[in-house]
């Protein structure tokens, strides 16, 4: 963990997203699964149960990859960062409400874009010499 930026970032971001997912369920207990009116997490972030599940799954994937080894963390970081960025770009061109999630001026959109860029950045630039069996 001390020498691999990928493991560090994956573990930290993974833990945060798992926490966010769990806390989200605390505020959406009475909200139906794909409701369009969600609960407010920390008074700022609007979430619904579908959202919380997404946060939990992505957070769990990052956390597990982060505590495993550097190659797993590198792959998880790059993949999740890339998929999120690509979904946003596709969303520009079809402007479908279910996919166009990057473009609003709200705190959670900023955090998600920041996560995508950081994950992609660390996945692509760090731990270049790592092998899959390494436990560094």
């Amino acid at each position: 963990m001390h020498t691999s930026p990928n493991r560090l970032i994956a573990t930290v971001f993974g833990a945060v997203y798992v926490l966010v997912g769990l806390l989200g369920f605390a505020v959406t207990g009475s909200v139906s699964f794909i409701a369009t009116q969600g609960g407010l997490l920390l008074g700022i972030f609007e979430v619904n149960p579908l959202h919380n599940v997404a946060h939990l799954l992505i957070g769990a994937a990052l956390l597990i990859a982060g505590v495993s080894n550097a190659m797993a963390a590198k792959v998880a970081n790059s993949t999740i960062g890339a998929v999120y960025l690509l979904l946003g770009i596709v969303g520009f061109f079809i402007a479908s409400t279910s996919l166009n999630i990057l473009a609003l001026n709200s705190a959670d959109h900023f955090l998600h874009l920041a996560s995508a860029i950081v994950l992609l950045g660390v996945g692509l630039t760090a731990d270049k010499s790592v092998r899959s069996h390494a436990t560094a």
Partner: protein, 185 residues
Amino acid sequence: MSPVIRTWLGFAALGSALIHLAVGATAPIPLSVLLVGFGVAELGWGIATLVTGRVLAAKIVVGGALIPVLIWGATAALGSGLGVTNAEIGLPLYPMAMASLFDIFLAATVAVALRRASNGSPTPVRAASPAGWRFVIGLVVGGFLFSAITTPALAATEVGSHAVPHGTHGVAELILPDPTGHGSH
């Protein structure tokens, strides 16, 4: 060039690419082609720079990164000269300004690096590798900084106005941008 600066160059290219793609998605056709083209090029260059750990095609980037800025400047100047407003040209001010900021940062940083290299400053025997606390902190700060600039810029585009509030996913309704381009504000 330190790994952190190189990573920030990649992030600037990604930010500029996102904005150019978002603006290009609903711009009038000739501008749309140019903006989407440059957006794709910036995206590709940003990813390639992050992956390879080198600044690729530095001499081309110094000039090339400024072309979208010139395109925006030309459309604004010609438009105002001909009495056509910014809204009718189809390029929103704030997003293009932020994308231009990214491109200017890119061009200037690469230009400075090229100058230092040509002045013959001694290159380190082993360049710093992207690891350690300084790199991680620089990466996270860079990610948050470039997102803080990019997200509001995207929000100010036409595609941004079609976005749903976060937490309201699951509504499968297709909203297409106005096919005649700008003009529905």
